[in-house]
């Protein structure tokens, strides 16, 4: 009996071993992949030495492939990427381009997939990320992306990008990503006909804005079109910027402006007041729905990034007659930006090809191919303005002259953890309208995930 038992046990074990080995055969690539994380650590500490490990690759510049990971799977974004891939294929015909795009709005799904790949030590050569702290706080802290200062110097990008942009995409003097496009967050969209019918001027300051919205509300017009929760965060950051001004707003993110201060309280009170002018069904509307309220004349104002302009054009509307724009109240002369950018992975399977891709992403040709299709402006200030429409031309002018600050809702100024905590505080605030609790939660969030001590 017991002997039989032993036999069965042995046989079971053998089967198990067979099954397991069968399971592992497709993953023969896995073992080498688990090694890079160990080599990552020294690279981040001494970035210049990293070139040493890549040296063998520079001797074989032709061939190879570059895997580029993004969430550009549809619409103008995907078409823009295709256009940029065309430029890449022209200049590097020998390098195979692998488009590893993962569908999902604003990259939520893509980032989850990327996180899994990075944890498994299987990074793509280059991936898309919102420029700024969303990249830096996550991937630099994890030692997963390389600094690109050398590339910025050799390609002359420092001279063609706005001076105030560079600190926002750097950490400790190292630049970590190549911005491909620029969107503006602080844009106030309005319906010119509705404003004219009610004798309202385009407001320049927050107080003027509130007065205008009082007039509109009295006339029975919804003053402000608002959508789901993230659009409320978008509104909050522009109101904070309008109240505090560029310097104090920047200070919120580097710890020099106190979140518990009276000015911030004023900003939050303004935000709370702005919410009272919004449509009552905001939480069931997407940003498109909210923007459409303005176009249809159901609402007067909408605060949204300038991708809304692409949407208005899609609807067949004409600039200045069907929709007008201005910097959000109190933010004239300030360009609150967000940007899609590409990084170089630490331990990239083909670092040479990845660098070639980044050169295209930062080049005039690449950006001129991508941006008119996507409906954004170039991160470079030397792009040909005639390729762009009326709104984008005005944005290009502002981009090269304004003070540049970063957006919160779109990942420039706060890392993911901090942003999630702010989002939770904001959600609770929208439900209970308690400004004191909101401010206390924001102070706590800055301490737990931001630079505040």
């Amino acid at each position: 009996m017991t002997k039989k038992m032993w036999y069965s046990l042995m046989a079971t074990l053998m089967i198990t071993v067979l099954v397991l080995s069968a399971c592992t055969t497709p993953a023969t690539e896995a073992p080498p992949m688990t090694e890079p994380p160990e080599t990552e650590a020294p690279m981040t500490e001494a970035p210049t030495e990293a070139a040493g490990t890549e040296a063998p690759m520079t001797e074989a510049p032709t061939g190879g492939q570059v895997e580029v990971f993004s969430w550009w799977t549809g619409g103008g974004e995907a078409a823009g990427l295709e256009a940029m891939m065309g430029v890449f294929a022209e200049q590097y015909p020998d390098v195979e381009f692998v488009n590893a795009a993962v569908a999902g709005g604003a990259g939520t799904n893509a980032r989850a997939v990327l996180a899994t790949r990075l944890q498994a030590g299987d990074p793509p050569d280059s991936w898309q990320g919102h420029a700024g702290q969303e990249l830096i706080g996550t991937y630099v802290a994890g030692g997963q992306i390389e600094p690109l200062n050398d590339l910025y110097e050799s390609e002359g990008w420092i001279d063609v990008m706005p001076e105030t942009l560079i600190p926002l995409i750097s950490q400790d003097g190292n630049i970590y990503s190549v911005p491909v496009n620029i969107h503006r967050a602080n844009v106030l969209w309005y319906n010119p006909a509705v404003l004219e019918a009610n004798g309202v001027e385009v407001p320049a300051s927050i107080d003027e804005w509130f007065t205008a919205m009082d007039t509109l509300q009295a006339a029975g017009v919804t003053p402000l079109a608002l959508g789901e929760q993230w659009t409320k965060m978008h509104l909050m950051e522009t109101v904070l910027l309008g109240t505090l001004g560029a310097d104090a707003y920047n200070g919120l993110w580097d710890g020099t402006t106190d979140w518990g201060s009276a000015e911030v309280k004023t900003g939050l009170d303004n935000f709370a007041k702005a919410l009272t002018y919004a449509n009552s069904d905001s939480s069931s509307l997407s940003w498109q729905d909210a923007a459409q309220l303005v176009i249809n004349g159901d609402a007067a104002f909408n605060v949204m990034g300038d991708w809304a302009e692409g949407y208005f054009r899609e609807l067949g509307k004409a600039p200045n007659t069907d929709y007008g724009w201005a910097p959000t109240p109190g933010s004239d002369g300030v360009f609150q930006f967000l940007s899609d950018s590409f990084v170089l992975a630490v331990g990239a399977p083909d670092a040479e090809a990845a660098t070639a891709w980044l050169k295209i992403a930062g080049s005039k040709e690449g950006q001129e191919a991508f941006n008119p299709v996507k409906g954004s402006i170039c991160a470079r200030t030397d792009c040909d303005a005639s390729l762009f429409g009326e709104y984008l031309q005005s944005a290009m002018d502002d981009w090269s002259t304004d003070v540049v600050v970063g957006s919160l809702a779109h990942g420039v100024v706060a890392n993911d953890s901090w942003k999630t905590e702010i989002d939770t505080a904001l959600g609770l605030f929208v439900a209970d309208s308690n400004v004191e609790n909101f401010q206390a939660a924001l102070v706590a969030a800055c301490t737990s995930s931001g630079p505040c001590k």
Partner: protein, 295 residues
């Protein structure tokens, strides 16, 4: 001799699945428990011991309080609604009416749809817009003169989650009906007839005879619907997206882990979800195993 051979074969055939379950369920549960006791925040794994601080923080977290409240409301409305509606449908179908097969499939069909599809459709139906943009149920109510029924649906403060439960009831009441119908068919007709001869009214028959005999079915329905509602995620995402008033633990877990990179906290929410489901399921499994062994 042959019994030994059988046993050998049995173990052999079952071993791959035992192994797979062991690794992919229990080892991973163990790993999640470990992560939930760590300070892991950010993309790189960090197993620094943090005790039960993640759990303590959650119990203090006002957002988690919203989650618990929403889960309780959702579970209550969804389970109660599905069971009542399912029972009524089953009793009606049990009257031997013409076209029973047709209606049975009709009521069961929603179950074949994924929650995402249900969510998208109900998002349109429960559109809370007012004025000229009114649509869905609200438009229907206005047009037939039932203006008092027009409401904010899932955007109602505090109780909005109950509107989501309506969509879930629509989807799952057919399934409950199928459970009850099978139960009703299993009750011998003689019992009903004997009760009628004793002068019991139809209501009394259902109240005193059918319902008690159906209690195992009710229990099954309660457990199955209950654990589904604790884990609800896709339906809410499809109807309302990530919005705090409709937050539930599963959505919080997703957001805090993958958007906020608080892996420790996310794992803690996952473990609490697991415990809440286990509290519901384990007594049921033991009960089922016991009754099966008896019969």
């Amino acid at each position: 001799m042959s019994r030994d051979k059988d046993r050998f074969l049995n173990i052999l055939l079952i071993s791959p699945s035992i192994l797979a379950v062991l690794i992919f369920v229990y080892v991973f549960i163990g790993w999640s428990v470990r992560v939930s006791l760590s300070k892991w925040k950010g993309l790189t794994a960090d197993y620094t011991w943090n005790g039960i601080n993640n759990y303590l923080e959650l119990f203090k977290d006002p957002r988690f309080h919203v989650d618990i409240r929403n889960t309780v409301i959702f579970t209550g409305v969804f389970v109660f609604g599905s069971i009542i509606l399912g029972f009524i449908l089953a009793v009606m179908l049990d009257q031997g009416l013409k076209g029973e097969g047709f209606f049975r499939s009709l009521f069961l069909f929603p179950m074949a749809i994924s929650y995402i599809v249900t969510g998208v459709v109900w998002r349109w139906l429960m559109n809370p817009a007012a004025g000229s943009r009114t649509s869905g149920f609200n438009l229907l109510f206005t047009n037939v003169g039932l203006d008092s029924l027009v409401n904010q649906w899932h955007t109602t403060p505090t109780w909005g989650i109950a509107a989501i439960a309506l969509a879930a009831i629509w989807q799952m009441s057919g399934y409950t009906m199928a459970l009850y119908l099978a139960g009703l068919r299993a009750i011998p007709l003689e019992l009903k007839e004997a009760a009628r001869i004793d002068g019991a009214s139809e209501f009394q028959i259902y109240r005193r005879i059918m319902l008690p005999l159906l209690s195992p079915v009710t229990l099954s329905a309660l457990i199955i619907l209950g654990h589904m509602s604790l884990k609800v995620f896709d339906l809410i995402i499809a109807i309302a997206g990530k919005q705090l008033p409709l937050d539930v633990p599963a959505i919080y877990m997703w957001q805090v882990t993958f958007d906020g990179l608080f892996y420790g906290k996310g794992a803690a929410i996952g473990i609490l979800l697991l415990i809440s489901v286990a509290v519901l399921i384990i007594p049921y499994i033991r009960y089922t195993l016991k009754t099966e062994a008896q019969s």
